[in-house]
Amino acid sequence: EMKMAVTTSFANSGLADVLLPQIQADTGLEVQLLIVGTGQALRLGAAGDVDAVLVHARAAEDKFIAEGNATHRREIMYNDFVIIGPAGDPAGAGKATSADEALVAIADAKAPFVSRGDDSGTHKKELSLWASAGVEPTGDWYRAVGAGMGAALNTASGMNGYIMSDRASWLKFGNKGDLALLFAGDPVLFNQYAYMPVNPAKHAHVNNDAAMALEGWLVSDTAKALIDGYTIAGEKLFTFNATAN
Amino acid sequence: MVASILPLHLTGLEVHRRGKRLLGPVSMTLKGDGTTVIIGPNGSGKTTFLRALHGLERCTHDAAKWQADEETVRARQAFVFQSPIMMRRSVQDCIAYPLILAGQGKTNARAAAAEWAERVGLSAALTRPAHVLSGGEKQKLALARALIRQPELLFLDEPCANLDGRSTREIEVILADARQSGTRVVMSTHDMGQARRLADDVIFLYGGLIHEAGPKDAFFSAPKTPETRAFLNGDLLP
């Protein structure tokens, strides 16, 4: 039995429901998931309240390691972000050839854009994209909602606005309303998930054996098959990219 | 007042509570004028009877027949309770409340209330919160509140129980005046002297039943049953 803090977007994807039973079958580990924001996940790890974390926010992860909260960082898989918007696409973001272009189109049209605004991995990614597109996202059209992915999608659906989401959350999202996937595929939109076992030297009580066993399983071929094989509506969500070391 | 709500005819009036008959069957007619005094030992049903007449007790359906529709009947009565009910207001506001309910302006109502307070001897207490009054003062307040709308029919449940001798006499004068000006008074009392002074008719309740009733003089000078005699003597009832 071990506890792992994961981000909302991972839990919302539904991949966990596929992986957990298999983990239990293969290793006998009962993994309990705590579904929280990225920042909160890292805090739980730092406090020693969980045995491992699975997040996607590179800079914060490096800091986490540097502070000695985890023994190491192990890349497991990636998925990608997509740009969602009203099916009519008034800003013409769908015709863009790069993520930068799509964002510039939205900003130029001053079309409502919903931002997670919660400092999560997704939010940080979005901010970095605005930066590289050379747009300062301010004004009435830019709505920072300060909520999880699902809630932000709800809001976008309610406002009929644009939003950047991870593909898994989008595909799983039930309340699509008038929204559609408009842009995807630019490599800058790739989103790396990493696994970090909490440092037993800092928190003696953590179940490091289980955490290591889980890591071993996550980089195994069984995991690869399950992750690469997981689809929603015929679309593949995650790409396994763990390296054996 | 145009047509009177009285006489009231009762046929087989009963009040039941928790499977017990507290009152009745009572059949009688309450005529249009005079003062009726109800006497009887503790727990004999005086309060229950008065409340039933006033429409406060759930009782036999259709047992009471008035001479007007229900709304008129209700509007022309007033009741002075055995333990006076004080609202959380000043004495003046308590007395004025029935007038306010009847749609009178606040200023008028309060002026009338001050006048009535004067009559029952409460002028000094006008601005006090009603609930700090002494026992006797509360009874006076309740009386003023009942009289202020000049009811056609006035019920009083032991209105002088907590009053001193002087106040009792004053209230008796007020009641006699009211009777003179046409108010029908029905009251209960344990004070036989008061009964003799005020009553035209007397009803002796015993065990929830009208044991004996009649005009004052006949009742007191020649009680018909041994129970009545015993009660008037203050003896143990047989």
Partner: protein, 234 residues
């Protein structure tokens, strides 16, 4: 533990520095919660009184239902209001979604049963006192309700304050219908939830302490007002 101290320090710093953003969301919290309290009291107090003075066949059922409605899960209320107000919902044309008005609507739904229930409880006792007198004085139902609400006003204050308390601390419903949009619908509780998700526990706690201070201030203000006004010991 450290976080709690940091939170207190941060709260003090925010308040002392008149942080404009803090002031903005605090005022919005106050506006939404007071608005909800006023509307819910206007509905719940008379309803509670009405329920106390009427004897009808389904009375016990209505009371039990009312008590049960105190348990309405905010998230569900939020969802239903969201669905009703959303563009594709029946009231979509009003364009209320993601506005403070929507938040007030959701909170009114949540706190009205609470206010009505406590009011009913308080009024029931007063009605037991007043019953005979008010019946004897041949009052109409509305006169009775008015008398009970007026004379029971001090007890009803608790009902309204309980409603206010629930509203100001609530987050589940207003997050959904308000959307926690910066500079538009962000209030203290949604900001706290946001900072918690970010792992900014100290800041979240700081906002929480501000919220508690606000609730205390409102309560003292209401108590002071009700004390000035009262003349006796009622």
């Amino acid at each position: 533990m450290n976080d709690i101290l940091l939170g207190l320090a941060e709260a003090a710093r925010l308040i002392v520095s008149f942080d404009p953003e803090l002031i903005e969301i605090t005022l919005r919290s106050l506006q939404v919660s007071v608005g909800a309290m006023v509307i819910a009291s206007a509905i719940g107090l008379p309803f509670g009184a009405w329920l106390a003075i009427n004897r009808f066949r389904m009375r016990r059922v209505v009371i039990a239902l009312l008590n049960a409605l105190m348990g309405l899960p905010p998230v569900v209320v939020g969802l239903i209001v969201y669905i009703l107000l959303s563009r594709s919902g029946p009231f979509g044309v009003l364009g209320l979604l993601f506005t403070p008005t929507a938040m007030v609507i959701a909170q009114v739904i949540i706190i009205t049963p609470l206010i009505a229930s406590i009011a009913h409880q308080a009024i029931r006792e007063l009605w037991a006192d007043y019953h005979d007198l008010l019946i004897s004085l041949n009052t109409t139902k509305s006169q009775r309700i008015r008398a009970l609400l007026w004379d029971g006003r001090r007890a009803l204050l608790t009902a309204s304050l309980a409603g206010f308390g629930r509203a100001i601390g609530e987050v589940g419903a207003i997050m959904i219908v308000g959307g926690n949009i910066d500079h538009a619908t962000r209030v203290l509780t949604t900001a706290i939830a946001l900072e918690t998700g970010k792992g900014e526990f100290a800041l979240a706690l700081a906002l929480g302490f501000v919220l508690i201070a606000l609730a205390i201030a409102v309560n003292f203000a209401m108590h002071a007002l009700s004390r000035t006004e009262r003349s006796g010991r009622w």
